[in-house]
Amino acid sequence: MQPLDPVELARLTLKEAVLDVTEFRGETTIVVDPARIVEVCRFFRDTEGLEYIFLSDITAVDYFPQEPRFALCYHLYSMLYTRRLRIKVFLPGDDPRLPSVTSVWPSADWEEREAFDMMGIVFEGHPSLRRVLMPEDWEGHPQRKDYPLGYEQVQFSFNYDDIDRTKPYAKE
């Protein structure tokens, strides 16, 4: 089977789900509708001539202060035709959520958990959307652009009363 052009085929089959197509340094990015992401991923995985069977990575990007603020990049790889494709969705800054693709690729599980942990993007239908890198009781999502780089003050004292007064930890 000859490799087919993913852009042409996506425009034909998925129609209005394809919002935009960009090309940069030989990499193709297809921007799609977040509500239809599962259908789109299934299409790229199962269509003969495309067969992007391997999900390399899901990257969450924060374009603060632009709107739509968040983007998710799904990096797909086709082992048969040795080529890559990037599927991109844009999400609004308040309440970013979209369906999970764990049913298409099991490896999306922990990539989505990382995106939730670091950026606060909610994946509907994910089997267990928990924090993965940060502690369970952590507040906020550190990879967001409006999250400060330094938070906790460095302690220059061994006087515990002094530390207790300034250190921001939970007290009863």
Binding site: S56, R86, M134, L149
Partner: protein, 423 residues
């Protein structure tokens, strides 16, 4: 926390929190765990065979693993966030600290991403040296894996031999960069400096010395009945599962899937060298062991070809918008002084755009997503690290139904580095 401690401190809040965690576990472990039929056991984060700080929550039925829930993040240092606050050149230093057994590979993938956005040329000589060092790093990493994997399984002597040979590789890194592990030797557009005069003789000595040592490891292990008993038929993963669960590198090739990024999508001139991709058949711990051992031989083959055809010429690009001028020019050229000042204060800026670059690290696909917004700092850097995917996916998948003692072998055979996993 036991009930007694709770009563003495009087933290009623903690008690309810603790019950909430049990409710959360309901989706992760089988219902039998909640009735007490199976046992929940923590392995790690301070367990010697978890290669760092990996915590596995195991549900055990006798000695059989019913489910295995990895808990990572103990080594999370926020490297991706920190890189956003540094200039492109400063941020290279952070990449060494991710996968501390593969520092050159991490430098390489980050530099490749910058070079792709900037369309920066890399001279032939720099490309060849990069290939030599990337393969030496692969040998270095595989030696540590071999040593620790065998140590986990009770074969102490291999560890000592592997560390002996690794020392030679680290000495060569020190000759080039002044550092044994965190070398930061690759820079956008080429190398930090040209290879030093003592490097090539040391490398040639190593090329002569090392093949016999690989034979030695194989004599110790390949037909060793104890080794075979503990590795063959353990931790089997089928090719279909390995692809679906995101396995890459020797973990995928152990199952017989022929995918090596050096062959499939060559970078840094890998298409010029002849080498084979070792494949396993059964997808068990033993086949993954064989794959890695053979990969060391293939790495030697690549290094030999690269040394034989090592071109002369500049060791980094002459594009002064991205690469600083040599110090000798600073005394005579005003333009060089300006470039020097600009590059070491403000740094360079990249055109606006996003790229995704992947290389074959010793553990599998290591990729860098780099997004540039036209300033002198990366807008977003994300690393797709093989250890993260393998820890979260391959280990629970392979360990389902395995014996507790075999879990140690399974963790060793996927070769995880927790610095790489948690970033």
């Amino acid at each position: 926390m036991s009930d007694k401690t709770l009563q003495t401190t009087g933290h009623t809040q903690q008690l309810t929190d603790w019950q909430g965690t049990v409710a959360e576990l309901k989706n992760l472990v089988s219902p039998r765990a909640l009735t007490g039929e199976t046992m929940l056991l923590n392995m790690g984060p301070q367990h010697p065979s978890t290669h760092g700080v990996l915590r596995l929550l195991l549900e055990l039925d006798g000695e059989n693993v019913v489910s295995c829930i990895p808990d990572v993040g103990y080594l999370h240092t926020g490297i991706e966030k920190n890189m956003e606050a540094k200039t492109y050149e400063q941020a290279i230093v952070m990449t060494d600290r991710m996968d501390y057994l593969n520092p050159m590979g991490n430098n390489l993938v980050y530099c490749l991403a910058i070079e792709k956005i900037a369309e920066l040329d890399v001279p032939e000589r720099a490309q060849a040296v990069r290939v030599i060092l990337a393969e030496l790093t692969r040998i270095n990493s595989h030696l540590v894996w071999l040593g620790t994997h065998c140590l986990d399984m009770g074969a102490m002597s291999v560890f000592l031999y592997a560390m002996r040979e690794r020392e030679m590789v680290l000495d060569m890194f020190e000759m080039l960069s002044g550092q044994r592990m965190m070398s930061t030797y690759f820079r956008p557009g080429g190398l930090w400096r040209d290879i030093t005069p003592e490097f090539l003789p040391a490398l040639n000595k190593f090329l002569e010395y090392f093949p016999a040592k690989i034979d030695e490891y194989e004599t110790l292990l390949n037909n060793n009945p104890l080794w075979i008993d503990r590795t063959q038929g353990i931790g089997v993963i089928t090719p279909e599962d390995a692809i679906a669960w995101g396995c890459t590198g020797p973990t995928l090739r152990g199952s017989g899937v022929n995918w090596d990024i050096r062959k499939a999508m060559p970078y840094m001139g890998y298409e010029k060298y002849t080498f084979d991709v070792p494949l396993g058949e059964h997808g068990d711990v033993y086949d993954r062991y064989l794959c890695r051992i053979r990969e060391m031989r293939e790495s030697l083959r690549i290094i030999k070809q690269a040394v034989a055809t090592l071109p002369g010429g500049p060791f980094r690009s002459q594009n002064r918008k991205y690469v600083p001028p040599p110090r000798s020019e600073l005394g005579t050229s005003m333009e060089a002084v300006i470039h020097h000042f600009k590059l070491w204060t403000e740094g360079f800026t990249l055109p606006k755009g996003e790229v995704y670059v992947s290389i074959e690290s010793p553990r599998g696909e290591l990729s860098c997503f780099l997004s540039s917004d036209g300033t002198n700092r990366p807008h977003r850097v994300h690393f797709r690290t093989p250890s993260y995917v393998h820890t979260m996916g391959a280990i629970p998948k392979m360990s389902k139904g395995a014996m507790l003692a075999d879990l140690v072998g399974i963790i060793g055979s996927v070769d995880i580095v927790l610095g790489d996993c948690d970033r």
